[in-house]
């Protein structure tokens, strides 16, 4: 990098073309982005296109495959596991997204005020967010699934027989729901807090002078001004629901638990790819999942923008 020390009291514009300095000037941007783009091209962008080709193949092994057209996609319509995983994911999403928004907005709203100990609350609520998903899965597997969970003692107080929740299909989804909320509410709360801090305080002051009560200013000031932030959090939670893997893997395994009640999209993609080694079908599933996520995200953005323009 000898060029670096080239003494020059004049601006770059005055450097004669064809000098070493001039060439380096022109090339620098490409040199700066190429380490990133070479790696990203091979391991990030190419796989996205490669996956399309893979999904049209039937794989015998890592090295040999046969073109089968759209058969992998046709299989989506008859695969019972896919239908169960999709409906489980959608059901959980319908529960998770509104609860996540309501809880995180409520916490953010309280903790945006000068309440005693708010820094402690914020920190504590955010703690699960920095915890490894595998550890989250381990903790909830024990707390909600084990006979020796402290939850048993709580149940005893209410005289409810407790033998763990994860061995009953009707409790598996609530268990996953609780785990997801526990892990992510703090995260969404921080997004909401950032949004709340951008609302000018004068608006609330003016509303109060006009005689609005707390609830009224919440509904007429906070919610409309937070619409985009709320939509953002909702979209993230939706995307997250379709991508969940680690926690669910630790909690119910790739089988999805009793009666496949906890079988989710992330689990079946992994299972098809690395337990059944159906590379082609796994890629078709992954693309179906991607299309669902993208369509849902655009629908949510569209709905938000429409509501905003009304």
């Amino acid at each position: 990098m000898g060029v670096v020390s080239t003494p020059s009291t004049l601006g770059p514009a005055s450097i004669p073309p064809k000098s070493r300095y001039f060439i380096w000037e022109k090339a620098a941007p490409y040199v700066f982005i190429s380490p990133f783009f070479i790696l990203f091209g091979i391991f990030g962008a190419f796989p996205i296109l490669f996956a399309i080709w893979i999904s049209f193949q039937d794989w015998k092994s890592v090295r040999s495959s046969e073109y089968i057209g759209l058969k992998n996609y046709a299989r989506l319509f008859t695969d019972e596991n896919f239908h169960i995983a999709l409906s489980n994911t959608v059901i959980l999403g319908i529960l998770v997204v509104p609860l996540m928004v309501i809880l995180s907005l409520s916490f953010a709203n309280v903790l945006n005020r000068p309440i005693r100990g708010r820094v402690i609350y914020r920190t504590a609520y955010f703690l699960p967010v920095v915890t490894s998903l595998v550890v989250v899965g381990i903790l909830f597997d024990f707390l909600l699934g084990s006979t020796y969970s402290p939850l048993g003692s709580v149940m005893q107080i209410f005289d409810i027989e407790y033998k763990g929740f994860l061995n009953k299909p009707e409790f598996i989804k609530p268990a996953i729901l609780i785990m997801i909320l526990w892990r992510w509410v703090g995260y969404n709360m921080m997004i909401m807090l950032a949004g709340l801090q951008s609302i000018p305080y004068e608006l609330y002051e003016a509303a109060r002078i006009d005689g609005a009560n707390g609830l009224q200013s919440f509904l007429n000031i906070t919610v409309p001004l937070m619409r985009r932030v709320i939509a953002f959090a909702a979209i993230l939670s939706t995307i997250g629901m379709f991508n969940i893997f680690e926690e669910a893997y630790m909690l119910v395994g790739t089988s999805g638990g009793v009666d496949r009640a906890g079988l989710l999209m992330g689990l079946i993609i992994y299972r098809q790819a690395f337990q059944s080694f159906n590379f082609g079908y796994a890629s078709a599933l992954a693309y179906a999942n991607a299309v669902i996520i993208i369509v849902l995200s655009f629908l949510q953005i569209f709905a938000t923008e429409r509501a905003a323009s009304e």
Partner: protein, 306 residues
């Protein structure tokens, strides 16, 4: 709940707590809810730590022990391989110490590389003019809409062809170049005044010196946030190690935790050791979080754009 919450929303966002409404029904109710929530968020951590101090028999017991009756650090010594252990022997002598080291090496290389490559590219996208700049940047952003699961199989095949299965390369190399990191650094670089860069050029700095000596120091907070975000992602990564590694001596922490489970090992689950190893594995991140909260939250909530 939001009604309660809003009972005094008209108070300033910052400033002293006004004494007149220090204690009211709403105040008590709000704090009660906040405390219950606090308990819910903290309890799993408490259970993990208290169980890590119990022998196995005291965890598998009814009624449960909320407080360890015979606390000891034996679990820590056992999982670190410092006292004889069947579990460690079963895994060819690979202990928590080894996997902790593995995770550290992988996460550190990744974080350093990721931040450096992303800063270089981010600088070019934010401050240098070149042909194809916008097209490249936008197409990079577009790939961020595609979930990672699409790349699972292709990446596995690529790694198999490169003969990288059962090595750390699949865990390190792809993670060096992530679009989010470039996006993040570019956003930071745009806040650097053009005059500053001009001045550096006039003083004779070449393109790299301008980046390294002038721009990089200014965007250090952005790099710090990205570094924390990136480190945490790699420290906690599970699917990559699960797919690419099956030699115990190469395991990372999350994989080590998962294989202790009976569903994988086929042996009774040593839950006392799992709780202990879990606690040790989250400790570095927890400590960084408690000391660098600001960068952490900046990096993570911006990571939401992913």
């Amino acid at each position: 709940m939001s009604q309660r919450v809003e009972a005094s929303a008209a108070s300033p966002h910052t400033g002293p707590i006004s004494p007149t409404k220090a204690i009211s029904l709403g105040w008590i109710f709000t704090h009660l809810l906040l405390l219950i929530a606090l308990l819910v968020f903290i309890f799993p951590f408490y259970w993990m730590v208290s169980s890590s101090l119990k022998p196995l028999e005291d965890i598998y017991i009814v009624p449960v022990q909320f407080w360890p009756t015979r606390p000891s650090f034996n679990n820590y010594l056992e999982i670190a391989g410092l006292i004889p252990s069947d579990e460690i022997d079963f895994r060819g002598g690979v202990s928590l110490v080894r996997t902790f080291l593995n995770s550290t090496i992988i996460a550190v290389i990744n974080t350093a590389g990721n931040v450096f490559l992303a800063s270089l590219a981010g600088y070019a996208f934010a401050k240098l003019r070149f042909k194809g700049r916008n097209a490249l940047f936008l197409s990079m952003l577009a790939t961020m809409m595609i979930p990672n699961s699409v790349g699972l199989v292709p990446n596995y095949l690529i790694m198999a062809w490169l003969k990288w299965i059962n090595t750390w390369y699949p865990l390190i190399i792809p993670g060096l170049a992530t679009p989010f990191a470039v996006f993040w650094m570019r956003q930071y670089m745009t806040t650097v005044p053009d005059e500053m860069i001009e001045a550096a050029r006039i003083d004779g700095c070449g393109p790299f010196a301008t980046f390294w000596r002038v721009v990089a120091p200014v965007v250090l907070p952005g790099m710090a946030a990205l570094a924390i975000f990136s480190f945490m992602g790699h420290w906690n990564a599970f699917m990559g190690p699960l797919i690419f590694l099956n030699k115990p001596e190469l395991y990372t922490l999350p994989l080590f935790l998962a294989v202790l489970d009976s569903r994988v090992s086929g042996r009774p689950t040593p839950i006392h050791l799992i709780f202990t190893a879990s606690f040790v594995s989250i400790m570095p991140i927890l400590l960084v979080f408690l000391f660098a909260q600001r960068y952490f939250i900046a990096g993570l909530t911006a990571g939401s754009l992913k």
